[in-house]
């Protein structure tokens, strides 16, 4: 009887050690820290703006959770590598300035959904992503740079961005 209870204890403790071992040594180990706010300097060069935008797209913006880099079968959201070309095309179709269209896609994404995709993108100037003006312009620059000419700059593009934010606020979006 005592031997049985001892074996039972061994099973309980052994399994817990085993599961902790898998967690420690079989799974990749990284922490997820809250993102830091990026301060964009006035008059930042276009290349630097694109580089900051890329950094945000792949980290704080969490864009890669849905967007693949290259086109994939069954992808949830448009591929990043060609998104500049696609956005420029859509802007022309909708008779919008390229710059305005890119900002609309970031802060008021439900205004226009690319064919074949669902309305699932959140406005990223709001919580939980909460990108600031500079960060949003940097992301826009990076997206434009994927196959199209970059037309945004900081702080010159702030009024165009604010215009789109105001449109989103007026419609009372979540």
């Amino acid at each position: 009887m005592k031997g049985g209870v001892l074996k039972l204890l061994t099973v309980v403790v052994g399994l817990n050690i085993f599961f902790a071992y898998i967690g420690l040594y079989f799974l990749p180990q990284s922490e997820s820290r809250p993102p830091k706010e990026t301060k964009i300097e006035k008059g930042i060069s276009q290349d630097d703006l694109i580089a900051v935008g890329e950094q945000i797209v792949f980290s704080k913006g969490q864009c890669m959770v849905c967007h693949p880099v290259k086109t994939e079968v069954g992808m949830r959201a448009p591929a990043i590598s060609t998104i500049g070309v696609e956005m420029e095309k859509s802007a022309k179709e909708r008779n919008m300035k390229f710059e305005s269209y890119v900002f609309e896609a970031l802060v008021n994404p439900s205004a226009y959904i690319q064919k074949g995709f669902e309305n699932m993108m959140p406005p990223i100037h709001k919580p939980p992503t909460s990108l600031n003006d500079g960060e949003l312009i940097a992301v826009a620059a990076y997206l434009q740079s994927r196959g199209a000419k970059v037309s945004v700059s900081y702080p010159e593009s702030v009024p165009v961005l604010k215009e789109q934010i105001d449109i989103e606020a007026k419609k009372g979006g979540k």
């Binding site: 009887m1 049985g4 209870v5 074996k7 039972l8 204890l9 099973v11 309980v12 403790v13 399994l15 817990n16 050690i17 599961f19 902790a20 898998i22 967690g23 420690l24 040594y25 799974l27 990749p28 180990q29 990284s30 922490e31 997820s32 820290r33 809250p34 792949f58 980290s59 969490q62 890669m64 959770v65 849905c66 967007h67 693949p68 880099v69 290259k70 079968v73 069954g74 992808m75 949830r76 074949g116 669902e118 699932m120 993108m121 959140p122 709001k126 919580p127 939980p128 992503t129 979540k174």
Partner: protein, 585 residues
């Protein structure tokens, strides 16, 4: 132990609960006076292990006990009802034993709950103030329901023997009331968690001001989370009851005890596994609500930082299925005629193993989804097996194999006498083959469609086929084996001791899984106390490594089993004392 009169038990219950609450409020008051003021942004720090780990451990322990005391009454009362209608003394005994377990576990639940009640406002005063501002009245309703539930629970248990016979119906109704109270408590606590994770914008503003309390309660995940917890509580409660039976089997001194606890272990394990079949479906509903609230949170939970923990989940559920199958295969030995089915075991083992392998294959061996996306490619073979299309298929096939292990155990000591038995066997084989083929075909087709079609259409069809086929098989066997020749009754108690370790294995793995899934659900909020509304600005506002989370989950599980072991031991001690008392009179 059940010799306390029902009325005295009510007084005992009220005193106990009031004592716990009184101590809780008193300690809270003293600590707030004695401890230094919280930091500017509203935090105090627990020594050595930090506030987060402390609250993590205590909250998970409390949740485990709460799950147990809310889950077990559901099937205990159902069994009492059946025992009453069928006049079955054995069912009445097992229902009573289950009731004994959860009644005595109430004290431990309340003790851990009191520690949590003290810890949260002391360590996170600003956040708790916010919760009280938004959902405060629900806390007072919770306290009221807790009193009623405790009174009903104590009365239900201590009046068992007095209310046998003509009052049995009333006693069952009291059990029903107990479950209503339990479900009410579950709904209240789920509303708190639901608010923190998926706050309803109609209930609270972006700046954290209350707009409408009912809307704040009615968050996106409130009902699906409550349903998921309700069924998971039954699975967990039955698992703990199976562990209790295994413990009693191993420590049994007579053949009669071994036979009874073998049967109790089997019954509990099958309740646990039976209800677990519903969980993926309700989990799916929960997922849909999380996605409706915020796609990012949904995807982050399913495929972002937590992607690897789903691989861990696959390892754990696969292990549970392996333990269950192993237990059922060993059980064939105690069934007269069971040896006729030994030949199928190796095939079922292969199917389970293959399903398990696909299930735990990761989508990429990169560190994170972002890294995989940057690489732009997945492994040519593993990449295809690591996606939802193959995993859902593997889950369905593995569950089907487990259901067949259960079926062959159930029918192994019987011989059908109906004239269409041969046709029945053919239909059974056809249902198994066709449903498995359909699940695999849908799985392959899932690779070719958009994620929306895969998630919203094909996955539900796949699980629908599985449920439909097990219902057909269940009905078919019930009809086919009606009045069947029984080769021999199961030789309860004639089980090797190792079978009981499989039962313990199921429960330990399930407890660990609960700890990990609880962490994922909570971690889905990332660096927010209330997602998008109240930011976590403490030094703990980050998600730790998976290894760290795994170690905490193991610590919680070991502490929980130490406490549960203590409970089992106390029950045996009390029984011995009661037996001695009985012998003297």
């Amino acid at each position: 132990m059940a010799d306390v009169s029902p009325s005295k038990s009510l007084i005992k219950g009220v005193i106990k609960l009031t004592l716990f609450l009184g101590v809780g409020f008193a300690v809270l008051f003293i600590l707030n006076k004695v401890l230094s003021a919280p930091t500017e942004d509203g935090y105090r720090f627990f020594p050595v292990i930090g506030s987060r780990v402390w609250v993590w451990i205590i909250a998970q322990l409390h949740l485990n006990f709460a799950a147990f005391v809310l889950g077990v009454p559901i099937f205990a009362v159902s069994m009492e009802f059946m025992s009453w209608r069928r006049n079955d003394e054995r069912l009445d005994r097992i229902a009573y034993d289950f009731t004994k377990l959860f009644t005595l576990a109430y004290t431990l639940t309340a003790a851990v709950g009191t520690i949590l009640m003290i810890s949260l406002p002391v360590l996170y005063p600003k956040f708790i103030d916010h919760l009280m501002k938004i959902l405060g009245p629900t806390w007072w309703v919770y306290v009221l329901v807790m009193y009623i539930e405790t009174l009903v629970c104590y009365y239900y248990f201590y009046s068992w023997k007095q209310m046998k016979g003509s009052k049995k119906g009333t006693h069952v109704a009291i059990g029903g009331l107990l479950n209503i109270m339990g479900i009410t408590m579950l709904l209240i606590t789920s509303s708190w968690v639901g608010y923190m994770t998926t706050p309803n914008p109609h209930g609270v503003s972006e700046t954290g001001e209350l707009i409408n309390r009912w809307q704040a309660i009615k968050s996106y995940m409130w009902i699906p989370l409550s349903l998921h917890r309700l069924f998971a509580n039954v699975v967990f409660g039955a698992g703990i009851a199976a562990a209790y039976a295994a413990y009693r089997f191993i420590t049994a001194e007579t053949d009669e005890q071994r036979a009874y606890y073998d049967w109790m272990g089997y019954t509990s394990a099958m309740i646990s596994i039976g209800f677990s079949l519903i969980l993926p479906g309700i989990g799916y509903l929960l997922g849909v609500e999380i996605y409706s609230f915020n796609e990012q949170m949904g995807i982050q939970l399913m495929g972002g930082f937590f992607a690897w923990l789903w691989v861990m989940q696959a390892i754990l559920i696969g292990a549970i299925l392996m333990f269950v199958n192993y237990y059922l295969w060993i059980s064939l030995n105690k069934m007269p005629g069971g040896e006729r089915y030994f030949k199928y075991v190796k095939y079922l083992f292969i199917v389970n193993l293959l399903g398990y392998a696909v299930w735990l294959t990761p989508h990429s061996i990169a560190l994170s989804l972002e890294e995989a996306r940057r690489m732009g490619a997945y492994h040519p073979v593993l990449g295809s097996l690591g996606v939802m299309a193959s995993k859902n298929t593997a889950v369905v096939v593995s569950y089907m194999a487990t259901f067949l292990s259960f079926t062959i155990f159930k029918i192994s000591n019987k011989e059908p006498i109906v004239s269409w038995a041969k046709l029945g066997h053919t239909i059974r084989a056809a249902v198994i083959v066709l449903s498995t083929a359909a699940a695999i075909a849908i799985g392959i087709y899932s690779y070719m469609v958009t994620s929306a079609v895969r998630v919203k259409v094909l996955s539900p069809i796949q699980f629908g086929i599985f449920f439909l086929s097990i219902i057909i098989l269940f009905v078919l066997d019930t009809m086919m084996y009606k009045g069947a020749i029984v080769i021999g009754e199961p030789r309860w108690g004639k089980m090797p001791e190792r079978s009981q370790y499989a039962l313990i294995g199921i429960t330990v793995t399930f407890t660990w899984l609960m700890a990990m899934m609880g962490y994922m659900r909570s971690g889905g909020r990332q660096f927010w106390h209330v997602y998008g509304i109240v930011k976590d600005t403490s030094p703990d506002a980050y998600l730790p490594t998976h290894g760290y989370a795994a170690v905490v989950s193991s610590i919680v599980t070991v502490i929980f089993f130490a406490l549960i072991g203590l409970l089992f031991w106390s029950i045996m001690k009390l029984e011995k004392v009661a037996d001695k008392g009985g012998a003297q009179t």
